[in-house]
Amino acid sequence: MADRLSATDLTAVFADFQRAVERDRDLLTELDTAVGDGDHGTNLDRGMRAAVEALAAIPQDTPGGVFNLVGRRLVSTVGGASGALYGTAFLRAARAAGAAEALDAATCTAVLRDATTGIAERGKCATGDKTMYDVWMAASTAAAAAAGDGLPALLAAASTAAGAAEQEMVPWQARRGRASYLGERSKDHRDPGAVSSRLLFGCFAAWADA
């Protein structure tokens, strides 16, 4: 059973996320074209390639090290809102993970909570603003509730909640980020950052499930 997430595991999850972003790059960009500036797919793809390359070049011993390297690479290579937000999230995750050799359910809950708070602080956003933060908040809340059931259940619950949140917010009006400029016209569109975040939680769940 995958009850603890090691540096190797986390590296594999990020590699999987990189492939998912690459695969869905055009979808993400298309969603961002409708409500933003059409670069979310290319932004995140560029960043995750750089992150995975860095992980291959400088293998990390701890999950904290992995989060830190990924966060730093995203901050350096992405730009845009998502670069700052994902970057901040992973850098906060790194701090929460500390020097632990592997993450158990309890640490994972703390990691996810701090990362989510990082997004709120960096983005000056709240739930209901229709951004990636809604997805992270949903995942984080579900993870906290499932923390007692072990890491696989926690990650499964987080992914399910992320997916549900991403769906639920489609009819909402965006209040942060570029989509907010559209006012009413932002309704009935999927938020690109929410979709990419959902992909990320899916990758964690898939690892736990494997």
Partner: protein
């Protein structure tokens, strides 16, 4: 769609190379992270002024680097704000110990990345002041949005801050002048067609032949309202009405600066036709267009449209506007 590119991936880097090759006396380009800086920076005893944003808006910002305007510019990928690394490296390269004013357009991505850079710099003892430009009246400034976007006023802020820095103003003074320009500026743009995104070769939004985007953004994002196409005078009237209505009751008086920028494919003929109507409009309102700037200075790739900005001048702002400037795109007095 055909464009004058080699590959979508190299548009920004090759253009920067071209700018560097054609302006060696003025600026230098650093890579990894990427920024352009005045060759003579840091300038001892002077506040530095740094801006940046997504590429695709040229000549803003790279064309405004030089004596009397920006110390450095950080060009991001196309329509993507620069990374915090770029901003940090640029500031470190041009800060002369007197601090640096960061001119930031109010877009989530720009704000966050400049903020991260400022945090990193502060931790290292480098003082920065941020001037946030949010002049686009097309966006309601409410808790339901990320606030107004920064558009045309950015160019004016950069000119005024650059001139203030050049004459030796302190960090606080340069920032105050930049904020004064922001407070006294309003802008609005409209587009008849969106720009063509290099990666996809498609326009970032499609408009029917009889519609326009009113209150359009400069990042390929659609505007707030889709309206029927009208003769340009009617469009200018509508834009000017929105701009002027947004000023406080007694704020709009005396001398103003009118800035008309083509957004990419507007020809000089079209920019002049827009300027004509805008000047007439301000005239009718009893304002004097004491200064103006008309041309394509802030673009959105090859978008067909214009953006209008009105800045209410005071003596000091007029003086700083007139001060000598030497950059690739804006030059006078030297």
């Amino acid at each position: 769609m055909k464009r004058l590119y080699n590959s979508p991936d190299t548009v920004v880097s090759e253009a920067l190379e071209g700018i560097a090759l054609t302006h060696p006396e003025l600026l230098r380009v650093a890579h990894d992270p990427t920024y352009l800086a005045r060759v003579d920076a840091p300038v001892a005893g002077r506040v530095a002024v740094v801006s940046g944003g997504g590429s695709g808006h040229e000549p803003m910002h790279v064309g405004f680097v030089g004596p009397g305007m920006l110390s450095a510019a950080c060009p991001g990928e196309l329509f993507t704000s620069p990374t915090a690394d770029q901003v940090e490296a640029a500031v470190r390269a041009v800060d002369a110990g007197a601090g640096t004013v960061l001119v930031v357009k109010n877009y989530s991505g720009d704000v966050m990345n400049f903020e991260m850079a400022a945090e990193l710099l502060a931790a290292d003892g480098v003082a920065t002041e941020t001037v946030l430009v949010a002049d686009d009246v097309a966006v309601e400034d409410s808790t339901y949005t990320s606030g107004r976007r920064g558009v045309g006023a950015t160019v004016l802020v950069e000119k005024v801050c650059g001139a203030a820095a050049e004459r030796g103003d302190s960090l606080a003074q340069v920032a105050e002048l930049g904020r004064r320009v922001c407070a006294r500026s309003r802008s609005l743009g409209f587009a008849l067609s969106a720009g063509t995104v290099p990666a996809t070769g498609r326009r970032s939004f499609e408009l029917p032949d009889d519609e326009i985007e009113f209150g359009v953004g400069i990042h390929g994002e659609p505007g707030r309202e889709r309206r029927p196409m009208q003769p340009v005078d009617a469009l200018v009237d509508r834009a000017m009405a929105a701009i002027c209505a947004d000023f406080g009751a007694d704020e709009l008086a005396g001398d103003v600066l009118l800035f008309v920028t083509g957004l990419g494919s507007a020809t000089p003929l079209e920019c002049s036709i827009v300027a004509r109507r805008a000047v007439q409009d301000l005239d009718r309102r009893g304002l004097r267009v004491a200064r103006n700037l008309v041309g394509s200075y802030m673009t959105s790739l090859d978008m067909l449209g214009v953006s209008l900005t009105v800045l209410v001048l005071d003596e000091q702002l007029a003086e700083l506007w007139d001060a000598p400037v030497r950059t690739a795109a804006l030059r006078w007095g030297r």
